[in-house]
Symmetry: C2
Subunit: 345 residues, 2 copies
């Protein structure tokens, strides 16, 4: 890891703690505890594995820094990526707000190997804890006013909230698909566009805005983030069925057992062949997994998903070249993108 | 009702519908339906009784209009209360976001006489519907940028989100009090400060900001809203125990049966007398209500709450005099405050 990446990660963690400390008051101590627990700082299992990788705020700051390093506008004299830290924190808080609510909605007991907030404190408290993370995310993005002109703060807050509405749209689609057996590929992209790509595109879009990039450049950054999200999600879908258990840390084919509407599955459902027939008969057990995943391969689901993943990866890298990020952070962002897009975990 | 009040109420309703229409797309039709149902526009029982009274956005627009009518700043040339309509909508959306989540948290089946969102669509969808109302509230306040300078938009968004964090604090306290039997009056004010007063003070604060009031005047408006909220809540607590069933529409003393930590109750718990002894023995049934509410009167709980309500009413009206709202809307706001503070329903 490069020095700048390490410095940024430390800055992100400090800024997140500073933002969440808004609830660190005697009367709301337990409330604050819920948030610091979820963020991975306190409680059983606290530590780097519990915090997650902070990829989203990191991409945000990479975008800021690599835009600033090639800008020659006089407005940015004395400005550096540090001044955008509250926006990076805002994005990570949005991500975590959605995780806290997701875990309730999906009835998930574990998150990053630890008990979820609703399991520890009950659903009513967990709903409120997620709400608080969302509020603090908005407060964090407005904190930009300390270093940025108000027009830019309003712009960043708009991008953030437009992205949040997309998150709720994606979540709605995901939940509404659960009981449907008539889905096709057409139903896939709007769902993952909301659930995965919206937030990643907000990272690169807000980052380039705060790096004073010109509009066409902001658009390239935005689209890089968007297609990075799509490519990442499709790969995740492939790994959820055919991934190496020892690498992914999940049981192979667990997505099939959980009935997840992943791209290979939706592709094959559209074919209306043997796979579709089996899928519509009801839940797949671990004993069925071998046969069912072989049907998916036979009917082209795996091949199609791999093609789509490659296509979206090429689009993402194409927009990244167009964005042309500069300097040490530009290089770090390219490496991070490659790591995410060619990951085998 | 005066003409201006009627015009404002119509404007508020139109603006709310326009904001919520962000989800009115073919793929998210059912999602949009959840929001329009909750807002009282569609589904069984839709209509004026289902929408609620829109008191908060109305107070917001009264504040804007009565400040504008006495301002002589050149910035406000051509500006009128209509330009603040998206902020008024934002506040009502925040109120409704909190109601949707409250109903899940409290396990409430009915809201304004209709099935709650979670009863109709399940908790996971209702959590997401509440989240969407919250996001749209933020988008609505940022829409002010069409008519206001960005500094003012940022200011309004900050007030709104600071208030939202107070709402989550109040909600946390309310929920954490449920299992406690050691509460006293000291625990009351921070809870209702968050749950009731924060949003009302945001109405008058944002309203006066958008009416270009000077800072000292904004502070008077803010405090008027804050104490209006406290007075209103204490009165609500009194009516929840001793209110006239035929006027309140709730069973008399239902707050005692529900174990609500209201001001008369917390006052008497602090006395540690016969009432406290009975309260700590467990739930009160409708058969016990006569005896228990008489204990509350004997131990001074009713008298204390009535004194506090009067005190907060006087504070609210004092700040309103200091704010000195002008014009037709100033008069309408005074009437609305009197209606709320002296209400017997």
């Amino acid at each position: 890891m490069t020095t700048i990446t390490q410095t940024m990660l430390e800055t992100i963690e400090e800024e997140l703690q500073r933002q969440v400390a808004r609830l660190d008051q005697p009367r709301t101590k337990e409330f604050h505890d819920m948030l610091t627990y979820h963020m991975g700082w306190t409680g059983a299992g606290a530590g780097p594995l519990a915090t997650g990788k902070r990829i989203r705020p990191l991409i945000t700051l990479f975008s800021v820094a690599s835009c600033l390093s090639k800008s020659d506008m006089k407005e940015i004299k004395g400005l550096n990526w540090l001044h955008a830290k509250s926006a990076a924190a805002a994005i990570e808080l949005i991500h975590n707000f959605s995780l806290v609510h997701d875990d309730i909605q999906d009835n998930s007991n574990l998150r990053r190997g630890r008990q979820t907030v609703w399991v520890k404190w009950g659903s009513p408290m967990a709903i409120n804890a997620g709400d608080a993370l969302f509020v603090i995310a908005n407060q964090a993005v407005l904190d930009l006013a300390e270093y940025y002109p108000a027009e830019i703060v309003v712009g960043a807050a708009k991008i953030l909230n437009d992205c949040c509405l997309d998150l709720t749209r994606g979540q709605f689609l995901d939940m509404s698909y659960e009981e449907r057996t008539d889905l096709t590929m057409e139903d896939y992209w709007p769902m993952i566009g909301g659930k995965t790509s919206a937030l990643l595109s907000a990272c690169t879009h807000i980052g380039s805005l705060l790096g004073y990039a010109k509009e066409s450049e902001q658009e390239a950054y935005r689209l890089f983030g968007y297609h990075l999200g799509l490519a990442f999600q499709v790969q995740d879908d492939i790994l959820g069925i055919w991934g190496d258990e020892s690498v992914t840390g999940k049981s192979a084919a667990s997505d099939l057992v959980e009935g997840k509407n992943s791209l290979p599955v939706l592709f094959a459902l559209g074919k209306n062949g043997k796979f579709a027939e089996r899928w519509r008969q009801g839940p797949i057990t671990y004993a069925d997994v071998g046969v069912v995943s072989a049907l998916l391969v036979d009917e082209g689901g795996r091949e199609f998903a791999e093609k789509m993943s490659e296509l979206e990866t090429q689009k993402a890298l194409g927009y990244l070249r167009q964005a042309d990020p500069q300097g040490e952070t530009g290089q770090a962002m390219l490496e991070l993108a490659n790591m995410l897009l060619k990951r085998n975990q």
